[in-house]
């Protein structure tokens, strides 16, 4: 099977600005081509747009605006893990031989319709993500005797790390006291426990091994992919204190890459809410069940950026369609030793974890130098 490499990327700052989706998409695409001037746009076989925006025909629109006439052009929507779903689709096009080079561009506006899954009537009138997050948080705290303060450290750590990310929505640091005293959303969730929807875009270019080696001196290879969707309804989750779809997708991705979690040097995990980070760490195998917050505490106290170096979703913001791509760009930069003050020493193997709709769907990618 041909290898697939990441050969270029571009990203915009994540903001609360009111911009047209087409304009946001083009900005990160333009940055991508500026970052790697070797790329001949005539050699791009497919353009995939990752977004939950209601605008139509965005891939052909982006292609026209970027001067590309691809064979394949379409959008991909899968709520919060649209970005990594798009990367998996691009990978598949390349491995199948239908394409040698694929541009993936993800973007979202702060008012994205993808924040609410209207179909899920089992949630009753509680369709906003804060409600499933509250149930997850209560369940996790109950199951493992975890305190609100222990969970608040996730937000403290990720805001601190986001301060080193010039594209992050947040550039402030907070204490546990600040998180605990931020606006109470529910009994189990405070404002600073939540990632915020925002406007932003991220683009990445994948290529077959032969093309990748001609296009860049330091490609990063996608060596493992795992995906699992257990349901669409939040209420169908088997557990509300673990991520079952993540367990399955992590197992598949690590098996494909011939690695285990101990080999992972740096990871981006989907911290849509504070509780998601320890749940993800446990379901990915970084820590035992119920011990995720201990790992987070140790990382924070030792200033170790191994988990969510760019500040995660909580620190960076969460423009849904761009998030999975932004996570992948971060791990790419880490493996290329190009992450500035966020750099994790000697990172050789990285992992991306991206979920949708209360972890009813998960994607895990393994990346290597």
């Amino acid at each position: 099977m041909t290898k697939v490499g990441i050969v270029a990327y571009g990203i915009t700052p994540f903001t609360r600005e009111d911009q047209k989706i087409e304009a946001v998409l083009l900005k990160s695409t333009k940055t991508l081509f500026e970052n790697n001037p070797k790329i001949n746009r005539n050699t791009i076989d497919a353009v995939l747009v990752s977004t939950n925006n209601n605008s139509k025909y965005l891939s052909p629109i982006l292609s026209e605006m970027a001067g590309i006439q691809p064979k394949i052009a379409h959008s991909i929507e899968s709520l919060c893990n649209s970005g990594t779903n798009s990367i998996v689709s691009a990978y598949s096009y390349i491995v199948s031989g239908l394409a040698d080079m694929v541009l993936i561009s993800g973007a979202e506006r702060y008012d994205s319709p993808g924040q609410i899954l209207e179909w899920d009537n089992s949630r009753g009138e509680f369709k906003h993500p804060i409600f499933w997050a509250s149930i997850f948080t209560k369940s996790y705290k109950r199951e493992y005797s975890i305190s609100d303060e222990q969970l608040a450290l996730v937000s403290v750590k990720n805001h601190k790390q986001a301060k080193e990310n010039p594209n992050a929505l947040s550039n402030k640091t907070f204490t546990i006291h600040d998180v605990m005293n931020s606006k109470k959303i529910t009994d189990d969730l405070r404002l600073l426990d939540c990632s915020r929807p925002c406007t932003g875009s991220a683009s990445i270019l994948l290529a077959s091994e032969e093309i990748a080696k001609k296009t860049t001196d330091n490609p990063v290879w996608i060596t493992g992919i795992g995906q699992k969707t257990t349901s669409a309804s939040f209420t169908k989750n088997i557990s509300f204190s673990t991520m079952e779809s993540t367990k399955s997708s992590a197992h598949a991705a690590l098996k494909m890459a011939k690695h285990n979690t101990k080999n992972i040097d740096v990871a981006e995990v989907h911290d849509a809410f504070s509780v998601c980070e320890p749940m993800a760490l446990e379901s990915l195998g970084f820590s035992d069940l119920g011990n995720g917050t201990s790992m987070i505490k140790e990382l924070y106290e030792t200033n170790n950026f191994k988990i969510n170096p760019r500040g995660g979703l909580i620190g960076s913001g969460h423009p849904l369609g761009a998030t999975g791509i932004a996570q992948t760009i971060e791990i790419t930069q880490q493996l290329q030793s190009n992450a500035g003050k966020r750099q994790v020493d000697n990172a050789k193997v990285g992992l991306v974890h991206n979920i949708s709709a209360a972890a009813t769907s998960s994607t895990v990618l393994v990346l290597e130098k």
Binding site: N121, S122, G124, I135, R142, D187, S233, T235
Partner: protein, 102 residues
């Protein structure tokens, strides 16, 4: 007679496959196991509170009925895990289902 038309009138029916008898939830026209037609069954049933939280002064809870149907519902009194409840009020408001349990 559809699940939603009945729910809009304040009646909760159990959507059940008329071939394999599987309860299909969330309600759909066809069974997700055998694609049989889903019919509605009226019965008095009890549920169990699995988890809960509170927003402002209102408690909301995750309730499981018949080991299959789970809904997010409002409850007026302080809930307890494992508490047995019944749907006391339901309907559709602004396109969203709503449920009260007690």
């Amino acid at each position: 007679m559809s699940f939603e038309s009945e729910l809009a009138q304040g009646s909760f029916y159990i959507p059940e496959c008329n071939i394999c008898k599987k309860i299909v939830w969330p309600p759909a026209e066809f069974c997700n196991r055998c694609f049989g037609r889903v019919l509605l069954k009226k019965e008095c049933f009890e549920g169990k509170i699995i988890e809960f939280s509170r927003q402002n002064e209102e408690y909301f809870c995750l309730v499981e009925f018949n080991n299959t149907i789970r809904v997010m519902a409002k409850i007026s009194k302080i809930p307890q895990i494992g508490q047995i409840v019944k749907i006391s009020k339901c309907g559709i408001s602004n396109g969203d289902y709503f449920f009260y349990v007690s």
